[in-house]
Each structure stands twice: as C-alpha cells, then as structure tokens.
Amino acid sequence: MTAILDRPAPTHLSPRLTAATAGRVLRQLRHDHRTIAMMLVLPSALLGLLYLLWKDVPTLPGQAGIFDRVGLTMLGIFPFVVMFLVTSIAMLRERTSGTLERLLTTPLARLDLLLGYGAAFGLAAALQAVVTVTVATTLYDLDVTGSTWLVVLIAVADAVLGVALGLLASAFARSEFQAVQFMPVVVLPQFFLCGLLVPREQMAGWLQAVSDVLPLTYAVEALQEVGRSAEATGTMWADVGIVSGVALLALALAAATLRRRTA
C-alpha cells in the first residue's frame, strides 16, 4: 500500500506575515514585565560580578586586563545563551499549547514563523546589548578600542544565532526537560572551544578543527577584533558574515524540520 508522502509545502515567504509574527512575539514579551526586566538587567549584573572578581587582580605590564578580554567576550555570549533558552522554550510552548498546529493551518509559511521569532528576539537583543554595553563601558570601565556600536551589532548577530539554534533544537525536544538540556549540549562545547578559556592556537589540533566549525568561535573572534582595532577589520566583517550565515542556515533547517503533518 502506498502511503501518502508528507511533501514539505512550498514556503511562500511573506514580509507581512513575518512582521505579524514578530509583532505578536514582542506583544507577548511586553505583557511579561519580569522577563523584560531580567533580559535588560541580568547581563549587566553578571558582568558586574566579573568586574568585581578581577578588579584587584594585577595584570602584566603591556597586556590588556583580564576583564577587558573576558568582559568583552561575554557581551557576545550572554545574548547567545539567553536567546537560545528563551526561544527553545517559546517554540516548545507553541507546540504543546496547540498554537503551532493552528498556525500551520493558516497561510503563514513555516519560515515566516521562524524569521518572525528571529526578528523579535533580535530586536530584544539589540536593546539588551545597548544597556549592557553602556553599563560595561561607563560603570565597569570596559576598554573597547573599536566602536561600541560594532559590539552591539555583533551581540545582535549572536542573539539571532542563539534564536536560530534554539528553534532548531526545539524541533528535537519532546518535553521541557529535554529542551532545557539542549542548552548545555549546544552552548557549553561552543563556549569551551571558542578561544576564551584557552587561546585557539594552544589547543590540540583536532580540538582546533572542531572549534573551526563552531559558530560561536567567530562571534568571539569578531569581538576580539573590535577590542583591539579602532577601525572595523575585514576579519571582523567576515566573522559577522559567518555568524549571520549560520543563523540563517539554522533557521532554514528549523523550517525544514517543522512538519506540517504529524502522526
């Protein structure tokens, strides 16, 4: 007997429906005051803790302080981690509440839905990054040689990467317990190998090769470039391009794994 094949429906992208989805996600956020407060304040507070931790640790003459190096990198890692968690839970909620199934019966294309999420949380991440960068450079004397706007831009790219990987991971999570555990699976290896804990040149060759294919590596490298060059470098733009490209690829993959018909 021939089974009816579950052909993926063509995805007719519609900027109008993507915007409608982004607007809806932002409205949901707006009703959740505590989440907004945490999103805006938490990274600054954690960065403050790091600042106090290293404040009195002497640095070798001629070298950048540890906080300047780690704090700057953290500006890219916070939005990545937070947005990964928030979106994987948000998508799981859509799935378990039945709203996802309902959305799939409307003219909304699957990629519209995911791009809408990316746009909404990208915007939230931009706000978060402006607050965190401002606090870091004024209160904690974080030294950035390049433009702080580039730091914000990289933070937003990292956030969108987190959103995209979170949406993709949620496709494989059947329960909240699984969704939460995808965070260490996806985030921690990238964090360990991104060059912050051990410079990439000092890693074993195979670890460096693994690090080469992990997107967070490029996010961190981009921030390090802004940290030491006054002008935006070609390496930095290439890194931002790689991070954004991987984010788009993950969104497309997430759309492809989102099945309209389920058993």
Binding site: M1, A9, R16, L17, Q28, S97, G98, T99, R102, R261
Partner: protein, 239 residues
Amino acid sequence: MDAVTVTDLVIDRGRRRVLPGLSFTVPAGQVTGLLGPSGSGKTTLMRALVGVQRIRSGTVTVLGEPAGSPGLRSRVGYVTQAPSVYPDLTVRENARHFAALYGAGAREADAAVAGVGLADAAGQLVADLSGGQKGRVSLACALVGSPEVLVLDEPTVGLDPVLRVELWERFHALAAAGTTLIVSSHVMDEAGRCDRLLLLRDGELIADSTPAQLRADGRSEDLEEAFLNVVRAREEVAA
C-alpha cells in the same frame, strides 16, 4: 456541491489503526455534526480535514483541493478542542494576530470578538479568562478569516446552555450565508441541531444521515436512544 470528499481514509496513530477506511461526503452550506464517543476518531478525522494529520492511505478533498494545500489555508478554519490561543496576549491581540495571518484587518478582528460575546473582555489577558471564554476566543480567531469551511472540534464543551444555544444559532447563520461547518460533539443532544449527522464509533461510520432519518431508523424520538438502536441493529447483523 460537496465541500468535503473523503475516500478510503486510513489513519494509524502509533501502532493503533484509528480510522480503518472511511468514505463520506459533506455537503456545502450546511452544519454537519460529527458525533461519537470519546476515542472514536473524531479529532483525528478533523485533523485530516485541515491537513495536519499524517495519513496512511486514501484521499481527503476539501473545496476541490487535497486537504492542507497551500491554497486552502485561507479558506479553511480550524478550532481545536483545547483552546489554541496565546494565554499571554489579550483577547483583542489574539484576534488581531490571526486576522493578520488571514489578511483581515483590525475591524474584522474586533467584530469577531464581539461576535462570540467577548467585546467586554477584549482587553483582558486570555490567561485570566474562564475555560468557556478561552474556547470562544479560539473560535473568534477562526471566524476572523471568514473561512468557507469551518472545522470545529467540540466547540460547545463547558459552555452554559444559553451560550450554547446562541453559538448554534450563529453556526446556522453562517451556514445560511454559505459556510460549510463540520462540528464534532460527544453529546447526542447536539445532534438534533445539525443538518446532517456522521456517527462515528471505533473509527467506523455507523450512520451518514439526518436527525429525522436517524430517528426513523432507530425507531425513537430520542436521538441518543435512536443511536443506540442503530448500533445494536448493526451488531446483530454482524453477529
């Protein structure tokens, strides 16, 4: 003209065969009731009609196209049994979101909210509403697209009798305007309100009939009893 044609539909869920081979048609512009006890396959069948159910074999045609085709998504509305709306948005925000997806505007959204009797609660978060009110928000979010076919999975569960009557009047007004409605229910007293009846039991179609015909076949004015008589008569034939 038939709005829905189902031919030899077979659906498995897990290892269980839920629908072993259904065939029926649903006429356009009428209220067709899909009745049967819990677990008889009503929801699975409705999911197949809107194209979100994976099917083993057979065909489901809605308005001349395969169920779930992109072209049907703005013409078919679906209200799930559990209210599928966003609890962290207000009633109005939910309706406007689904209106936007169907290409309708804020005015249609507000009219849909008023149409299910929730105009006074429009600014409230859905999470703060009662179960029956949530169900009505979910209904408004389907009505807002003015679909030609409306698939409603147990839309009157938990509603007070007055509201239930009002909703049925609404369904008939929609049908009179040309909308095809397929409404599931597990309570037989709602069967009498339908133009046509499909009685489902263990995935099999026991009757494809009208209330009047079912009363005649089951030799009872009470539809519940008539249904039971029909089931017993079938079992005697099978035995």
